[in-house]
């Protein structure tokens, strides 16, 4: 019997759950040795549901109710170095508080997993979605994958440990999910049977671990100027390696689940003259705006970047080659930078295309500002105008700003 047939026969009934619950469901199936987390909106669904699994004895996990997010990630570092699979979840300010340990986790090459429910950074205090938190960690040597709905929150959560723990990778993994739009939206979620999820994920088998019987290694020691640079170079290699590992794992997962995920997702790009590039849950509205513009005769398509770190340069280049003008949707501001984060990456990815597209940057959705279809339609019209005029605007446009 092939895996596909087996999956189609034993597949559990679809669930109607939100993204937070979908992540918790995946975590139950993965059954990590240690989960450590601290409550913060909009991450709370994940840890509340998971706590129920612990209370009902449905997992073997030691759940540590730590006293802060810094401690949450610190406990995961200890657990993972000890030889356990470890996971946490947080949002905006929680990630900011963890920041020192974000780098410790990757520098120690610990393949732990964080579910990042994106939220604006203070001040002003704001609990709603934008990508300021995710963008602040983009150079920290974590694999970062943006999901766009509860189904993907689940699917990516299952794939995450298999990428992070791959011997050619050994880097932490951030499953980035838009706060509220993903974490709190109830949608249909198809899940794998427990046995399939468990056998896909397998067990964490590190080469060296602190609890290893007879093991006496020193973890996280000091590097002077004689080794630090070399260790960082090795991290670059691990990051580079992870790209193909992600691709392979997504393909393997597709065989099991029937759900195909790619490093970048294209929508109507084949004949597109203009395009929008987006991260995360706004892709739904962007698609709707594209459908509307197409009905008006505009040849527009969309590129959604799923794998953000490592940035899939070749996939992006290929997808955007032949497009005359591209609008990049940034949901965070890189204050004082020559361009916002996603725009910087798109500039670099497209710069050597024989016919480099005209590029323009849009800032949108900060602090949970609404992201209606009409707003993305406006962006499309801007890009069309830029194409007709053959000129790139110098500064970004701010969509939905009053």
């Amino acid at each position: 019997m092939t895996t596909k047939q087996k999956a189609s026969i034993t597949l559990p009934a679809p669930l109607a759950i939100n993204g937070g619950e979908a992540v918790a469901y995946a975590m139950r199936q993965i059954d990590p040795e240690v989960v450590a987390a601290y409550p913060i909106t909009p991450q709370t669904f994940i840890i509340e549901r998971f706590s129920e699994y612990v209370a009902d004895g449905l997992v073997s996990t030691e759940y540590i109710n730590v006293e802060s997010e810094h401690a949450a990630l610190s406990a995961c570092v200890g657990a993972c170095a000890a030889g356990g699979r470890a996971q946490t979840a947080t949002s905006g300010p929680g990630l900011a508080l963890m920041f020192e340990i974000v780098w410790v986790a990757s520098g120690m090459r610990l393949p732990l997993v964080m579910h990042l429910c994106s939220r604006a950074l203070s001040a002003p205090l704001n609990i709603l979605c934008d990508h300021s938190d995710a963008m602040a960690m983009r150079e920290s040597s974590w694999i970062m994958m943006f999901g766009s709905n509860p189904q993907e929150a689940y699917d990516q959560a299952i794939v995450a440990p298999t990428v992070a723990e791959h011997p050619d990778v050994l880097l932490p993994f951030a499953n980035v999910l838009d706060g509220f739009t993903v974490t709190h939206s109830v949608e249909r979620v198809d899940v794998l049977p427990d046995e399939d999820a468990k056998s896909f994920v397998g067990e964490y088998e590190p080469e060296r671990w602190a609890l290893q019987p007879g093991g006496g290694a020193t973890f996280g020691g000091l590097d002077a100027n004689d080794f630090y640079f070399e260790h960082k170079r090795q991290q670059v290699e691990a990051m580079d390696n992870s790209l193909e590992v992600v691709r392979r794992q997504l393909d393997k997962y597709a065989e099991l689940s029937g759900r195909k995920m790619s490093l970048v997702e294209e929508y109507l790009l084949d004949d597109a003259e203009v395009a929008l590039v987006v991260l995360g849950s706004s892709e739904g509205m962007v698609r709707a705006a594209i459908d509307q513009a197409r009905a008006d005769g505009i040849k527009v398509g969309m590129l959604r970047v799923r794998l953000f770190r490592p940035f899939p340069v070749a996939d992006v280049r290929k997808a955007l080659s032949g497009v005359a003008a591209v609008g990049v949707l940034d949901r965070a501001i890189a204050f004082g930078a020559p361009a916002n984060a996603l725009m910087q990456d798109i500039v670099m990815a497209t710069r050597t295309l024989p016919e480099r597209p005209l590029l323009m940057d849009f800032v949108y959705g900060l602090g949970g500002r609404n992201t209606p279809k009409q707003m993305f339609r406006e962006a499309i019209d801007h890009v069309v105008l830029a194409k007709e005029q053959g000129a790139e605007p110098e500064s970004p446009a701010y969509l939905g700003l009053r």
Partner: protein, 316 residues
Amino acid sequence: MTLKLRELTEKTEQFGSGHALCAGCAEPVAVRQVLAALVNPPVVALATGCLEVATTRFPDTTWKVPVIHSAFENAATTISGVEAAYKALVRKGRMEPRPLTFLVFGGDGATYDIGFQWLSGALERGHKFIYVCLNNEGYMNTGIQRSSATLLGAWTTTTPAGDVRPGKLQWHKDMTRIIAAHNIPYVAQAAVHNWKDLMTKVRKAEAADGPAFINVITPCDRGWRFDTDKTMEVSRLMVESGLWPLYEVENGVWRMTGGGQKRRPVIDALKSQKRFSHITTNGDESVVAEIQRRVDAEWESLQQLCEMSARAESES
């Protein structure tokens, strides 16, 4: 559980030679005593500080036991994660259960100041581990800056003795009693010169049913300004002057330990360390008098706690 010298001599050293701690430093002495006293093999978490920096420089290591360093403030949480992973790995049947002792070494900076919250959280959660604070009353690794463990009047590089300020202006935090207020099964103060007392406390900490905390005074010849061969003498003076009383709180019972402590004036201890020379030799005795007054008060309060415990024990 009793400590036999003979048995100790037969133990293999778990802390090797070749570390880069200063000559005369009390930290490796404390570490050796702790490791030798343990019955079980340990898994160690280190906080950033002199000990970590001087013993883990890649590609070498001084440690023959597993050691994890993550950051300055979070060693108690690192060990929480290790202890939790141990439980889960055993529960899952992925590892055979075996006796292990989860152990932390952190300096006073890591313990009293920057890591206070992490330690408090780990104690409240009740992980089974021993936290050993290597208290040299300052941030020595970064060049002798003040911490909340630094004594009143002490010179440090951030509380220099000047024309208008006589070194550190504040009384230190009583961390041991703050930890005791967490109501964990075992809390103690120890000193490196009294190895038997220290090691007995480690044994008790290891046998405790829950978290344990031992605050060890570890004189730093660099930061306290004394000759490298005077470490044990200085340690003894700290104890005998009442600046560092040896005691334990075992399941809520307060007890003086270390074979009776005759009190001598604090000036004897202060004079042994040049970090106090500006207050011991300038003719103005007010700071020394203030230290004496507060040490007397703290000593008195400690005696009362011990007497109350003794009464409660004899009544029950």
